[in-house]
């Protein structure tokens, strides 16, 4: 049986936030008498993650995804509740715990700006107490997986964003961590760089059985990497489960555009009991529930003279977007 590597129980986090009224008067008032209030950004959440799982954290900006990730890796102290990651209390940041995790942030970098990435890799290797031979072996292996070679010897400031992100990944993975926390790793990358990064993460997960916790606003990252998603809305978990189940529930019907041989066939089809969205001459769009799609298509193909048909999946961003903006979405 696969063990839970992350165990979160009744976790809450509050921050003191100061607010300021607009205008000069507000600024002066804010300077002399700052009014702060405690804001609960994470509210009593619980979940577990199994070893080797890839879990996507979904949520609108400010929903609390990054705060959860930072509490999991031990950067932020929780206000209430308990967290165990790989058997450790993350916020104690014990050396052995830190050697098992890594954090990659798409918008922040740890590489030394003026030097080639290889210098940062060897620096990290010495921090993780790896000898030169072992470091060299790991750099070779990871650079092959990431398909980077010459870039290792070019100053970071001269690398493209995609090359930099690959180098960031290598720097963050040199100690072969078992748990990866990725905060928007594909931010700002072009399509090909995004695809390569996803392929690498899939391969890394497959080869090392590493657990990956990922936040991203690119739905393609989530759909191609994560079987399970945790949706966060205003600090609370609104859904925790399989991604395909979520998609099925959120989008129970598919739209099918049918091109009939003649307009008469289209009229016949329109009156045959299917839910029709629209009809233009011999083209008709109908809605069919996901669970009856095979039988319905069989009926249509057997009883009507069909020239062509197209199944339209609703855009995933649109579907997931529904979860992100509604607190009590019925799933």
């Amino acid at each position: 049986m696969v063990q839970n590597i992350i165990d979160v129980r009744n976790l809450s986090k509050s921050f003191d936030i100061s607010s300021k009224e607009p205008g000069l008067k507000g600024t002066i008032k804010h300077f002399f008498r700052r009014q702060t209030k405690s804001l609960k950004v994470i509210k009593d959440i619980s979940f577990e993650i199994k070893e080797g799982e890839i879990v996507g954290f979904l949520g609108a900006n400010g929903a609390g995804k990054t705060t959860i990730l930072k509490m999991l890796c031990g950067l932020i102290y929780p206000s209430e509740g308990s967290i165990f990651v790989s058997g450790y209390l993350p916020f104690r940041r014990k050396e052995n715990f830190l050697k098992t995790i890594t954090l990659i942030m798409g918008q922040k970098q740890q590489l030394i700006w003026d030097l080639p990435p290889i210098e940062s890799f060897y620096l990290n290797a010495s921090i993780y107490d790896l000898d030169k031979f072992e470091a060299k072996k790991r750099i070779k292996k990871l650079s092959e997986m990431l398909e980077i070679d010459e870039e290792l010897f070019i100053p970071v400031r001269k690398l493209s964003l995609g090359q930099r992100m690959k180098s960031e990944l290598l720097a963050a993975l040199i100690h072969e961590p078992h748990i990866l926390f990725l905060d928007e790793p594909t931010l700002g990358l072009d399509i090909n760089a995004q695809i390569n990064l996803r392929k690498f993460l899939q391969k890394y997960n497959k080869e090392t059985n590493a657990t990956i916790c990922l936040t991203s606003h690119y739905m393609k990252d989530i759909t191609s990497l994560c079987k399970r998603v945790i949706c966060v809305h205003e600090g609370e978990i609104s859904y925790d489960g399989k991604l395909d189940l979520l998609l099925k529930k959120l989008s129970p019907v598919k739209e099918i555009l049918i091109v009939c041989r003649s307009e008469e066939d289209a009229i016949k089809l329109e009156n045959s009991g299917f839910t029709v969205k629209n009809k233009i001459k011999n083209e008709i769009t109908i809605k069919i529930e996901n669970n009856s799609i095979t039988s319905s298509l069989k009926t249509i193909l057997n009883n009507f003279d069909i020239e062509d048909l197209f199944i339209n999946e609703p855009p995933i961003d649109e579907v997931i977007g529904k979860v992100l903006i509604k607190k009590d979405y019925e799933i």
Binding site: Q109, E119, L123, D129
Partner: protein, 264 residues
């Protein structure tokens, strides 16, 4: 603490920061020229003060040069280690890159205090030592083992006090986010360290001994050089340095509990 690992990491710090700095040759050259001009300017200023008066606060010009020498060494250390690293703490906290430091299996204070070096500060340290050697000759100071040991102890204590003060201020960034001004105020106070403590009024002497211990930083090591310092003063400096160092360490560990990281 694994000393071998920390030495290995520090060797890498030296290597990477030297390599980074050497990427900008002209910048290093400008820094070197600035260090030489700054020392010449300071000695010239000191000589103006002594032009009409042979003594200031009981110190002759030749003796006051020792203070200048120690100040130059300390300023060199500040420019080599404290300035590039401790000002970076503010940036780390503002931009949230402290996250990467805290997630490394290494002491975070060690990492943020020693990661960078500015090689041009070495010249200042060398100039300071050269000035001290000159002062030893001018003031006809006898070099003995006890003299060298006490001088070394007091200078190390001065470095510890200076580091702790600076580190303490930088740590408050965790709450106040911007502390550039406080660091600038500290640097301005350090300029005062170029002059003998006795040249100030009683109230300022108390202020610079208790609140901002500039007195400990330059005057006591200089007194040791001239054989004027009493043992209790040296012991006091060692005690102050130990307290400052320990407090700054405790304060850093305490402050980290309030670190909220920057938003993404």
């Amino acid at each position: 603490m694994n000393l071998r690992k920390y030495l290995k990491v520090y060797k890498k710090f030296l290597h990477t920061s030297l390599a980074s700095e050497l990427e900008y040759k002209s910048n290093i050259l400008i820094d070197l020229i600035t260090a030489i001009l700054s020392l010449i300017g300071s000695i010239f200023l000191l000589s103006i003060f002594f032009q009409n008066n042979g003594y200031i606060g009981g110190w002759k010009f030749e003796q006051a040069l020792i203070i200048q020498g120690i100040y130059t060494i300390l300023n060199g250390i500040t420019n080599t280690w404290f300035n590039p690293n401790l000002t970076e703490i503010v940036k780390h906290i503002r931009e949230g890159t402290l996250d990467f430091v805290l997630l490394k299996p290494i002491d975070s204070q060690f990492f943020i205090s020693l990661k960078k070096i500015n090689p041009s500060g070495f010249l200042e340290i060398m100039l300071g030592f050269f000035l001290l050697l000159l002062c030893i000759r001018i003031n006809q100071i006898n070099l003995s083992l006890s003299f060298l040991t006490l001088s070394l102890i007091t200078i190390i204590c001065s470095i510890c006090i200076l580091y702790s003060l600076w580190f303490f201020i930088s740590t408050t960034t965790i709450w106040f986010v911007k502390t550039w001004n406080a660091i600038e105020v500290l640097r301005s106070f350090l300029y005062i360290g170029r002059f003998p403590l006795n040249s100030f009024s009683f109230s300022l002497r108390v202020f610079f001994s208790i609140f901002i211990p500039i007195a400990f930083i330059t005057t006591i090591p200089s007194e040791v050089f001239l054989g004027l310092s009493q043992l209790w003063k040296i012991l006091l400096e060692v005690t102050v340095a130990t307290i400052f160092l320990m407090t700054s360490r405790k304060f850093w560990l305490f402050a980290l509990k309030f670190y909220s990281s920057a938003s993404s």
